[in-house]
């Protein structure tokens, strides 16, 4: 394994915020890893410098920089590694820090579990609906050329760029109990305002563009002559799409679906405006925070974070496997 400083930097920097003992422990582990591969006295100097963290936490930076200087000799890369690591720590540390507040009893908080179930259900339904529309739309945008195509492609991205409270108001206006579509649909029993369909519609609105764009990119990469060839061999259009095009873009579909699902499950603004109840997990966290304060919200938040990370990691793993097939 090439010893690349980025991972070391991120681990060391992150650990430095958890106190001198944690930092020293991590430093020692990295020191052992390095010294067993390469006997250099600079590494011994690194472990000695890390003891400075006992004098003042900010002095950890001395040993971290020393390690960077030892491993990387090129000033260009030294700067880029330092900045890259700083950003990664900006993401990793807060996440880890929150997880410290996890406590197992939240597993028995039925409101939280309910909210998580609503979130997962709504995001999954929204992803399936996205797929139904993304496949034809993505295909058309990849295969056909027509005046105004650029404009329509821009429209698809609109839900991504507008503030989500604005998206929420728009949906409320149309799907609300007295909305243009909402009112007649409510008459036949489909209610959006303060109901699951409202959550699904909000998630669909903000997340479907990810899947549409992925399908479009995927289809663009499939040579149209595969379709021509299959048709000349006797397969009709639908069959060609199903048997020749879809298998070649399944990686794109999967990663688009993961993004759509993740975007759906993380949506709060638009959902809250059209359906505060039934609560989705983000709404429940917001409710805990506004009614009981930060401290009370922390364990549930940590649990939600864990669940989301676990599902997201699993989905990424599966979609990677499919892409590599």
């Amino acid at each position: 394994m090439r010893k690349d400083p980025l991972l070391f930097l991120v681990i060391l920097l992150t650990s430095s915020f958890f106190g001198a003992y944690v930092f020293l422990f991590i430093s020692f582990a990295i020191f052992l890893f390095l010294i067993t591969r390469e006997r250099k006295k600079e590494y011994i100097f690194f472990i000695l410098l890390s003891l400075l963290s006992f004098i003042h936490p900010s002095l950890t930076i001395v040993s971290i920089l020393w390690l960077l200087l030892v491993i990387e000799k090129d000033n260009f890369y030294r700067l880029f590694y330092a900045l890259g690591a700083a950003f990664l720590v900006f993401i990793i540390f807060p996440i880890l820090y929150l997880l410290l507040y996890f406590s197992p009893e939240v597993i028995f908080d039925s409101s939280l579990l309910n909210a998580i179930m609503v979130s997962i259900t709504a995001a999954t339904i929204a992803t399936v609906i996205s797929l139904i529309f993304a496949l034809p739309l993505g295909y058309l945008l990849a295969r056909r050329d027509f005046p105004g195509k650029g404009f329509l492609e821009g429209i698809i991205d609109v839900p991504i760029v507008i503030p989500h409270t604005v998206a929420g108001i728009i949906l409320l206006l149309v799907f609300g109990s007295s909305g243009v579509w909402g009112a007649p649909l409510e008459e036949i029993g489909i209610r959006f305002y303060y109901a699951l369909p409202g959550i699904i519609v909000a998630m669909l609105f903000v997340s479907a563009p990810f899947l549409i764009n992925q399908v479009k990119e995927g289809v663009k990469k499939v040579d149209e002559r595969y379709e021509y060839t299959a048709m000349s061999l006797g397969a009709g259009r639908f069959r060609v799409f199903w048997e020749i095009v879809l298998p070649q873009i399944k990686g794109n579909i999967m990663s688009g679906a993961v993004n759509t699902w993740a975007r759906g499950i993380s949506e709060f603004g638009a959902v809250m405006m059209i359906a505060f109840y039934p609560m989705i997990a983000p709404t429940y966290i917001y409710y805990l925070y506004t009614n009981f304060g930060l401290k009370e919200a922390l364990p549930a938040t940590a649990f939600l974070l864990l669940i989301t990370l676990a599902i997201f990691t699993l989905m990424r793993f599966v979609s990677r496997r499919m892409e590599n097939d």
Partner: protein, 351 residues
């Protein structure tokens, strides 16, 4: 039998207009033409991928102009073969049968055996060599015995060394099946080796159509002549090979080549204009063809001068620089010797 009548197709910036042609069962039509002539669009229109603005396509007397591609029974093979990457070789070949819900196992095995690809049936198409891909694509295209086979530059993705073999495979295989075939290419030797009919396309139009020999012997159109005449192409009869040289008789003249040929075979000789040397003195030297000629035409095209020379009944084209033209004092009707090495004379054989 396939018949084209007054076909007009616009696809993006491409426009083709074919006044009409007809080929019969057992015919092998080669359409040559430069890149951008509209050859592929013509094939794709016959296959049904583009809807013509005007005109008719008749297959065995039936109007198929508005029939969707999958109902035409016209198989298309593209130059990069388009083997479906999500299927094995076997599944690729079986695809047309599976689409029609026909029992395929035995048929696939038989055709694979004929083409010598039975050992690669389980492989992923991505792992195949160019020659193997070509045979798989061919097997897949003909396994249902289509009414017409369309080949789009089927050899251009192969190494030049493999093309002869690939041509042989195509010829033996398709001749046996008697499927009428349209094959587009920019390689004139495909026409000589495989075709019995030949068309020449330029700027979306079929500028010449006829029996291969006729088109070669009398290109009629200046463009056709020029397109074919990147080389001098002359038809002759091969004689017995001796001392590594094959004599080829052309209208009473003998030209030697180092390429092998069977005595009595009808062959095409190709001599590149840049390999032709002009001189007033009769040149000496071994393995050199020397023909006394008369200058019949001089054409200046920028920095190149094309000289047409007549030896017996053959017209040869040579290439000179304007400087050489001036210093040699070449003029129309002057007598001059043309010479070219036997090694620069290539045989295009009918295999």
């Amino acid at each position: 039998m396939i018949e084209i009548r007054n076909l007009r197709v616009n696809v993006g910036e491409f426009k083709i207009h074919i006044e009409g042609f007809k080929i019969n069962r057992g015919d092998y039509l080669i359409i040559v033409g430069p890149t951008g002539a509209g050859k592929t669009i013509l094939l794709e229109t016959i296959a049904g991928f583009h809807v013509p603005q005007e005109g008719k396509i008749l297959l065995n007397g039936k109007d198929i102009t508005n029939l969707p591609p999958h109902k035409r029974e016209v198989s298309m093979v593209y130059q990069d073969y388009m083997l479906f990457p999500n299927m094995s070789v076997e599944e690729n070949i079986a695809y047309p049968l599976r689409v029609r819900k026909i029992e395929w196992k035995k048929k696939v095995r038989n055709i694979a055996k004929k083409l010598g690809i039975e050992d690669i049936l389980h492989r992923n198409p991505k792992t195949l060599s160019g020659g193997e891909m070509q045979r798989v694509a061919l097997a897949r295209a003909v396994i249902t015995s289509p009414k017409l086979l369309l080949l789009d530059e089927p050899f251009s993705a192969l190494d030049p060394g493999m093309r002869d073999n690939a041509r042989r495979v195509v010829r033996d295989f398709i001749k046996e099946l008697e499927i009428p075939t349209i094959h587009v290419t920019h390689d004139f030797s495909d026409a000589w080796v495989l075709g019995n009919k030949m068309g020449v396309m330029r700027n979306g139009k079929m500028v010449r159509f006829g029996v291969v020999e006729d088109v070669f012997a009398d290109p009629q159109d200046d463009f056709v002549a020029k397109f074919l005449g990147a080389s001098n192409i002359i038809k002759g009869i091969a004689g017995e090979m001796r001392n590594g040289l094959s004599p080829v008789e052309i209208d009473g003249l003998i030209v030697y080549t180092v390429d092998e040929a069977q005595a009595g075979d009808e062959v095409l000789l190709s001599i590149r204009p840049e390999n032709i040397v002009l001189s007033y003195q009769k040149p000496t030297g071994s393995q050199r063809n020397v023909l006394p000629c008369r200058v019949v035409d001089i054409n200046v095209e920028g920095h190149i001068v094309w000289i047409s020379l007549k030896a017996g009944n053959i017209i040869l084209k040579a290439m000179l620089t304007p400087n050489a033209l001036e210093s040699m004092g070449i003029e129309k009707n002057k007598k001059i010797y043309v010479s070219f090495k036997a090694t620069a004379t290539k045989i295009v054989r009918r295999i």
